[in-house]
């Protein structure tokens, strides 16, 4: 089948998509966007978290056809060429990246959390951060530095215009 959707603001059209393929497979293997990761491919680890029409989803659980005509946002779209998004900067500065395989999914989940709390004019509490990231597994860090990074990003983004 042919799949047409918008990814990171660009319209993509791909042919010969097999009906059994996931959005994750299409992003990684047919669109040249391997940033979203394939750690479990069963919706347990969150490493493939992407925005679908602005809502974070596990791309491995979305059938490719379900993305038809919709807007997808991946880690590759968080910042422009040569730039870093405040969440990306915070992860680097806080030491929240070791092997980095969970990082793309965590960045999207964090971006979503920080945006939502900023829209409400506040910074997320620790318990709220833990709840928001509970679907993203990390095996390297023990999560402490990820929490540091989210707090840092929330502080910095709170100062920006909404």
């Amino acid at each position: 089948m042919r799949l047409t959707c918008t990814v990171n603001g660009d319209r993509h059209e791909v042919d010969d998509v097999w009906e059994g393929e996931s959005l994750l497979y299409v992003l990684r293997e047919r669109m040249g966007l391997p940033g979203s990761k394939n750690a479990c491919e069963q919706g347990e680890c969150g490493s493939c978290t992407v925005y679908l029409d602005g809502v974070p989803v596990c791309a491995c659980l979305v059938a490719a056809g379900q993305a038809q005509g919709r807007e997808v946002g991946t880690v590759e779209g968080l910042a422009g060429p040569g730039e870093l998004h405040p969440v990306q900067e915070a992860f680097l500065e806080a030491g929240a990246v070791q092997c980095g395989f969970c990082t793309p999914g965590l960045l999207v989940a964090t971006d979503d959390l920080v945006r939502r709390s900023r829209a409400e004019g506040r910074r997320p509490a620790d318990a709220e951060i833990r709840e928001a990231l509970a679907g993203n597994l990390c095996r390297c860090t023990g999560y402490e530095k990820i929490l540091d990074a989210v707090r840092l990003a929330a502080d910095r983004m709170a100062g920006e215009a909404r």
Partner: protein
């Protein structure tokens, strides 16, 4: 040679800038690529015209193969090759320490998931569907699934409340390998063989099978070379030991089997053994096309070795004052179907299985057995994790018997500088075991759990499942301490190779560091840059892609790379620096004895010399390659297990605070505190990251992580059923890092990664025991162990 469209990215230069020297929180050179989603992990590699390879695996833990019919798979459109053991041109078995594991199944399969055949096709699902059409006729045998039974030893009775019995394995098929079911038996004997003591405690313990659960699946891309050889881009821990085994299987010389490290999504020991390496090379050479293989999560559970399950019996004897008199221990490690690194794991469990305590009389027997369970091998902590659960439980039981404080008992018997280990080795660098514990005790405890209207469910065992508002919840606090050998032991020729080049590019001094040391997430690439910046006084340091074009760096295992490859990079930098300063002396025309490199210049404070490196080097590059070794270790005496077997020890201690819902058996870890001596923190932020991550993996084994194996079959090969800690399971941590230099090590550093993984779990168990009063002889602790249901 063509290279993949998405190549393993070399680390760019100069990230972190002048701040990134020894002792600084330098940032990772690969960090920007990783947060932008542009870092090329092994599973991201891609080439035009590449094929996908998949593996057909045995559904049976033990069976003879009567026949294999690949015809139906070959008939599937899109399939390019179907291969079996007949297609392996060289040695058909491989292994890290013993070559006993078939590349593809020969006449017998010995574990569920053993690779039987390979398929290459133009789409991964085509390959999977074709593999399902291969017809294998199995004669299914009864599996051997108990390590002690496999060796003909009696079972014990405390762990499972069962009567002791010897299982007779009389049938012929119960001998899994021609040399029997014993992989290694290590005896440690010291002091009085028949010691007596005022107070004796005996305990039997069991540790379940833990999975490394790295997130990046086993993956790689094999590209056939124009010379008839092959280039393999793969996620691994030791390129050169892979290369040796691949060459053997392919019957090719090393120059025809070239490996490059692809991005590695975590390792933790699970990438020491081969997985898809030879398979992808076979398919690529057979089809003449690039072949990618990437396991899904279920296959990953079958595609790598796990941590050995252990059953252990300990007897501790002490004086009434609390001085250890003797320890007797019997340790059985289930190695599964093939040897992997079981011999070395037995070595660690046997030599360090009594903990960092002074024990005058020792009698240890440690066994590694073959069974038809999944093969077990390396995982972070490597034999020391299992035994720590036992010896620390014993120390608590002994303290209770003596009416002593458990920390005081540990401090009273703690190793220190100059102590002798159970294997007769004198500890010749700082061993601040007691200080680590006392510092933990001095740390403030978290506030008592809230009650009544103040309860926040998110802080309760069971969380927002709303299972308790504090009723039946009891708090416990527990301590544990660990030590672990750093680097390879028992006389292994343990070295690393570093090639360092210094040159001026576009007016800027640039150093290039080339090693084959695997960056698996731990941050070795950062350390390599920090060392080169420090030793050569430059800001720009390029980390060359890791490959087999340079000599071996040894394994990214055993907490050894910062020590050994760090030592090699330091030595190569010193060699480069010596040549550059010699040139500078020639230019200056004076002795200039205090010349050094700093800020891209040759500097002499005494004589006011500051020569830009451009003036010294011109267009020349100065390059040196150095093979560097730590001081040699010795094999253990085969009868007594005595000897200078380990080059360095790492020490850490944990305090765990838990809340236990004693009615439902739910555990909430409230806080973890850790103290660790690292000798010298080369990168303090990364050191803390290692401690936090190691703590999490130890906590996971304590309360949730186990591969459940029933009759040789894995029951839970998924992240749905094999649980690792989430951010909700991990508590806040307090960490103190001590830096007592080891005079034998580069910069005085100690390996960091494994020790905190060892002390964390036993501290959690001690805390749960304190909260519940239960003996808890088995990990992971499950709710039914706490409720008795």
């Amino acid at each position: 040679m063509s290279t993949p469209t998405r190549t393993p990215a070399g680390a760019p230069s100069s990230v972190g800038g002048p701040g990134g020297r020894i002792g600084d929180d330098a940032q990772r050179p690969d960090g920007v690529l990783k947060v932008r989603g542009e870092f090329a992990y092994a599973s991201d590699l891609w080439m035009d015209d590449m094929l996908w390879g998949v593996t057909l695996r045995s559904p049976h833990p033990y069976a003879r193969i009567r026949s294999v019919d690949v015809g139906p798979a070959l008939a599937v459109p899109g399939v390019h090759a179907v291969l079996t053991s007949d297609d392996v041109p060289g040695e058909k078995v491989y292994g890290l320490e013993l070559a006993d594991q078939p590349v593809l199944a020969l006449d017998v399969v010995r574990y569920q998931g053993e690779p039987v055949a390979l398929v290459a096709a133009d789409h991964p699902d085509t390959a999977r569907r074709a593999a399902a059409r291969i017809v294998v006729d199995y004669d299914v045998w009864e599996p051997v699934t108990d390590a002690r039974a496999a060796l003909g030893h009696p079972t014990w009775n405390q762990v499972h409340d069962a009567p002791a019995a010897v299982t007779e394995l009389s049938r012929e098929s119960a001998h899994l390998h021609p040399h029997g079911n014993l992989v290694r038996h290590l005896k440690v004997r010291k002091g009085d063989p028949e010691p007596t003591a005022d107070v004796v405690v005996v305990g039997e313990y069991e540790v379940g099978m833990q999975d490394q659960a790295f997130l990046g699946p086993e993956s790689g891309l094999a590209v056939p070379g124009e010379d008839g050889g092959v280039d393999l881009y793969v996620a691994t821990q030791w390129l050169h030991v892979d290369q040796r085994q691949i060459c053997s299987a392919l019957a090719m010389p090393p120059e025809k089997v070239r490996l490059t490290l692809a991005g590695v999504g975590g390792a933790f020991g699970g990438r020491e053994d081969l997985s898809m390496h030879v398979h992808a090379c076979l398919l690529a050479l057979h089809t003449g096309k690039p072949v990618k293989m990437s396991y899904n999560r279920e296959e990953s559970f079958f595609g790598h070795v796990h941590r050995h399950p252990a059953t252990m019996r300990y007897e501790h004897g002490a004086t009434r004052d609390g001085d250890l008199v003797y320890v007797k221990a019997e340790i059985f490690l289930d190695g599964g179907a093939y040897a992997s690194s079981t011999p070395a794991v037995v070595g660690n469990a046997g030599t360090m299985g009594l903990g960092p305590y002074v024990v005058p009389n020792v009698h240890v027997d440690c066994y590694g057995a073959y069974t038809n369970n999944p093969p077990c091998g390396a995982m972070r902590g490597f034999g020391s994790v299992q035994t720590a659960f036992a010896y620390e439980a014993q120390m608590d039981a002994l303290a209770a018997e003596l009416g002593m404080d458990p920390v005081e008992l540990r401090c009273r018997n703690a190793m220190e500088l100059g102590s002798e280990t159970p294997t007769g080795q004198v500890v010749d660098s700082p061993a601040p075991v007691a200080e680590l514990l006392r510092r933990l005790v001095a740390m403030p405890l978290p506030p008592e759990p809230a009650t009544g209207d103040d309860v926040d469910l998110r802080h309760m065992p069971g969380g927002v499942s709303n299972t308790t508002h504090g009723e039946g919840v009891r708090r416990g606090v527990g301590y544990a301490v660990a030590y672990k050998n750093v680097a390879f032991s028992e006389g292994f020729d343990d070295y690393s190779t570093a090639r360092v080049r210094l040159e001026v590019v576009g007016g800027e001094a640039v150093a290039t560091v080339h090693t084959a040391a695997a960056e698996v997430g731990q941050g070795l690439v950062t350390v390599e840059q920090q060392i080169a910046r420090t030793e050569l006084g430059v800001d720009a340091v390029v980390v060359h892609p890791k490959d087999t074009a340079v000599g071996s760096a040894g394994s990214s295992s055993a907490s050894r790379q910062t020590y050994v490859t760090g030592g090699a990079v330091k030595a190569a930098c010193e060699a480069v620096r010596g040549r550059v300063l010699e040139r500078a002396r020639g230019l200056v025309g004076r002795p200039a004895g205090d010349l050094r490199l700093d800020g891209g210049k040759v500097v002499s404070d005494l004589e006011g010399v500051a020569l830009p490196l451009a003036d010294v080097l011109g267009d020349d590059a100065v390059e040196e390659t150095v093979e560097w070794r730590h001081r040699p270790t010795q094999a253990l005496d085969p009868d007594t297990g005595q000897g200078f077997a380990h080059v360095q020890y790492a020490f850490s201690a944990h305090r765990a605070v838990v809340d236990v819902d004693t009615e439902l058996g739910l555990v909430k870890v409230v806080e973890m505190a850790c103290t660790q001596d690292v000798g010298k923190a080369i990168n303090p932020q990364a050191v803390v990251g290692q401690i936090q991550g190691g703590t999490a993996q130890g906590l996971g084994l304590a309360v949730m992580e186990e591969i459940l194996v029933r009759d040789g079959r894995v029951q839970n090969p998924s992240f749905t059923d094999y649980l690792i800690p989430t951010v909700l399971d991990m508590p806040p941590m307090r960490i103190e890092v001590l830096e007592y230099a080891d005079p034998h090590a580069p910069y005085g550093l100690r390996g960091v990664g494994e020790a905190p993984n060892i002390s964390s779990g036993p501290a959690v168990l001690a805390a749960i025991r304190q909260a519940t009063g239960l003996p808890l002889r088995r990990v992971p602790v499950r709710p039914e162990h706490l409720t008795g249901t």
